[in-house]
Each structure stands twice: as structure tokens, then as C-alpha cells.
Amino acid sequence: MTKPDFHQFDDIPGTTIFTMEKAREGFALNQFCMSLRKAENRERFLADNRAYLDEWDMTEEQKQAVIDRDFQAMLDHGGNVYFLSKIFASEGLSYVQAVSTMTDMNVEQYQAMMLAGGRNVEGWRSKKERGEA
């Protein structure tokens, strides 16, 4: 049988793979996100981010990342983008608007890249190839 390797993805540049390990780290963060499926919870969260987050057993880094809308930091601390989408959906933002904040582009530049066919995989396969590892 295959031994699980949760770190086989570590060489992919600019990418955080949501493994079973990361899912344990991010459990409370992702469950907080799930609570935003309910309209009344969205209202309470948007009215006072900190008060709502303090109801959850999250780390301070996770809470601050949410307050800062720092999606990369949320991924780093175990968040998954489908869960995190509940945060930006509660503010009426699209995936493109939120996802572009994790890149080095602004939303207009990101949309232009997508319209031109998206990000080319060439040069984006390996951190080692890019000199990042």
C-alpha cells in the first residue's frame, strides 16, 4: 500500500495543498467559515469581526488573518479556499476579486491575465526550478 506523503506538494510554487494534516490545523477556522452560511451569522460577523471570532476556538494568528482578510495567511494556518469563500461571499465579493489578492497582481491585472488565457504553467511547476527552495 502507498504510504501517505503530505509533503509531496511542497515544491509546487505559490500553492498550499489542503491535506488531512492541514485540515486538523485549520479545523476551527474552517468551521467558523461554515457558520457564515447562515444569514444571521454573516450579519453578526460583519457587524463586529473580533467579537464573532472570539466565539471560536481559533488561534490568534487565524483570527488576525481573518480580520486582515489575508487569505494567504489563512491558507498557511490550515484554511481551505472553499471554506474561506464564505468570508468573501458574506461581503459580496467574487472568487476572482478575492483570489487575485493572493497574487502579485491587482484585480484588473488578474482579470486581464485570465482573459488572455490564464497563468501559463511554464515556470510555475517547481520551487527548485524557480530558485525558491
Binding site: T15, T16, T19, M20, R37, Y82, S85, S94, G118, R119
Partner: protein, 281 residues
């Protein structure tokens, strides 16, 4: 006897659902993509199945992190539409096919596929966007649906080999159901896309097209493609394509290609769509 008459694959981009719901399909951004589904809607009107088994993934819409089933099957009478954070999509409730679904879930478990049985399930864009693309905006959906959610969100996802085998087992189980039913199987999600991190926006259309060719012609080879290759070449969310293998397994050895369509981009995603029919029903 029930029989699988066709397979459909399509991406299930949430923004596509939003474009349908807000009446924006004629806008210059969306028009070329929706035009690619005009053939399919006409074909589907002539080939509407009694039941569609829709293989899809939930996007943190119904399943939280408490329980993450690898393979599940909805056997309820009907399935409500999830609120994914923007309010539920204004589409009809999805009607189930509980007798066939119960037969399938039980058959698959006895065939060593340990399905999670869902007596309650709300469905998200992963299931409803393909329905909108194939059926448009009817007051009631014209077919009954058996939802088959797959974990593609958390690694380890099921292997390609397991997905293809599950499809083959579905084919056997459908053929053992006594009622005379026209059944389709849909594999949804993909194609290349990545919606997180500094590499977001990745699209690999040549890889996508090769994947389609292999899916049609040599799925037995395709099943050994490791998750890592999907993640590198098709983006972190491109791994959804393993769900297309379940559809392919259910069509038997040889298929005819009825229709193929590719379009880049829809939101962050490379859209791919196939209609296939089995050579042997």
C-alpha cells in the same frame, strides 16, 4: 432493465451559475461560453434521461469538516439548494430517485465500495451549475437525480484507479436494476484551475485537451495519473478531474464522442465539456 445511455462531463464554475441567475448569459464575457452549450441543450432535450447520476464535489457548502466522506450517495426523495454565502441559487429543488439510489448504494457497498449513505443532502453549485448548462432555466428539472459527492477537496482524494473502478461498478449495478430506466452519468468539475496562492489563475489548455483525449481513448492508462500531476499541471483545484473517471468507467470499454467544447476562461477556470455515448448499451 435500467441502462446507462450517455455520459456528460462539464466544469461547474460557480460564476456560471451566477451569470444564469442574473440573466447575464448574453453579455460579451459570457456569450461565447454559453453558446458552446447550445448544442448540448438541444441534444439533451432529445435525450432527456429518466435519472442522471451526477458525480460532483461539495465546496464546503453542505459538508463541513466534521465529516468528509470519500464517496457518498444521496438516496433521498429530494435535495434542497444550499446557501453558499450569497443566498441559495434560485433554481428548482432537485428531485431524487430513491429506489434506484438505494439499489445502487447497496450494490456498491456489497461490491466493496464503502459508500456513505445520505438521507439528507443539500446540493451546491457543483451539482446545479451542470444542470443549468444542460437544461437551461426550467420551472422544474426534467430529470431525477442521484447525487454522488466525492471528496476532492482534502488530500488524499480517492485514486484515479478507484474512481474508474467505481464507475465500472455503477455500470454493473445499474444494469441489475429491474425497472426500465434511461440513466445518464455526469462527471463534473475541472478543468485546469487554481483559486488560491500566488500561482492562482493557472490554466493549462493543452493538458486539458490531452486529458479529454485520454479519457475517451485510454482511461485505463489515465487512471494511474497521480494526484501530484493534477496539482502541478492542472492546478490545485484541477484534481476535481478525477470525478470524470467515474463517469468514464460507467460507460464501458468503448465510447463515441457526440460533442466536445473548450473555453477559457470562465472566472478562474478552463471550461471543458464532453457528451459521450457507450458503444454497447
Amino acid at each position: 432493465m435500467a441502462r446507462i445511455t450517455a455520459g456528460v462531463t462539464t466544469s461547474h464554475v460557480p460564476a456560471v451559475g451566477a451569470a444564469v441567475d442574473m440573466g447575464r448569459t448574453e453579455e460579451p464575457y459570457w456569450k461565447p461560453m454559453f453558446e458552446g452549450y447550445e448544442f448540448s441543450k438541444k441534444w439533451m432535450a432529445d435525450h432527456t434521461p429518466d435519472v442522471a447520476i451526477i458525480v460532483y464535489n461539495d465546496h464546503a457548502s453542505y459538508f463541513g469538516m466534521e465529516i468528509m466522506p470519500t464517496f457518498a450517495m444521496g438516496i433521498a426523495d429530494s435535495f434542497a439548494i444550499c446557501d453558499e454565502g450569497y443566498g441559495p441559487r434560485p433554481v428548482p429543488v432537485v428531485e431524487g430517485a430513491p429506489e434506484l439510489a438505494t439499489h445502487l448504494a447497496a450494490s456498491l457497498i456489497l461490491d466493496d465500495f464503502d459508500m456513505t449513505v445520505l438521507n439528507v443532502l443539500e446540493v451546491d453549485h457543483g451539482l446545479t451549475v451542470p444542470m443549468s448548462l444542460m437544461f437551461g432555466t426550467p420551472d422544474q428539472w426534467p430529470t431525477k437525480v442521484i447525487p454522488l459527492p466525492v471528496n476532492v477537496v482534502m488530500y488524499p482524494q480517492p485514486s484515479g484507479e478507484r474512481c474508474l473502478s467505481l464507475g465500472k461498478a455503477i455500470r454493473r449495478a445499474v444494469q441489475q436494476f429491474d425497472e426500465d430506466l434511461d440513466v445518464q452519468i455526469w462527471g463534473t468539475g475541472g478543468m485546469s484551475h487554481q483559486i488560491q496562492g500566488a500561482r492562482a489563475g493557472l490554466i493549462n489548455l493543452p493538458w486539458d485537451i490531452q486529458f479529454m483525449d485520454d479519457l475517451i481513448n485510454q482511461p485505463e492508462v489515465l487512471q494511474y495519473k497521480p494526484h501530484l500531476e493534477y496539482m502541478i499541471e492542472a492546478g490545485s483545484e484541477g484534481v476535481e478531474l478525477i470525478m470524470w473517471l467515474i463517469m468514464r468507467g460507467a460507460l464501458g470499454d468503448q465510447v463515441d464522442e457526440v460533442y466536445r467544447f473548450n473555453h477559457v476562461p470562465a472566472s478562474n477556470t478552463s471550461v471543458g465539456h464532453l457528451i459521450l455515448t457507450p458503444k454497447e448499451i
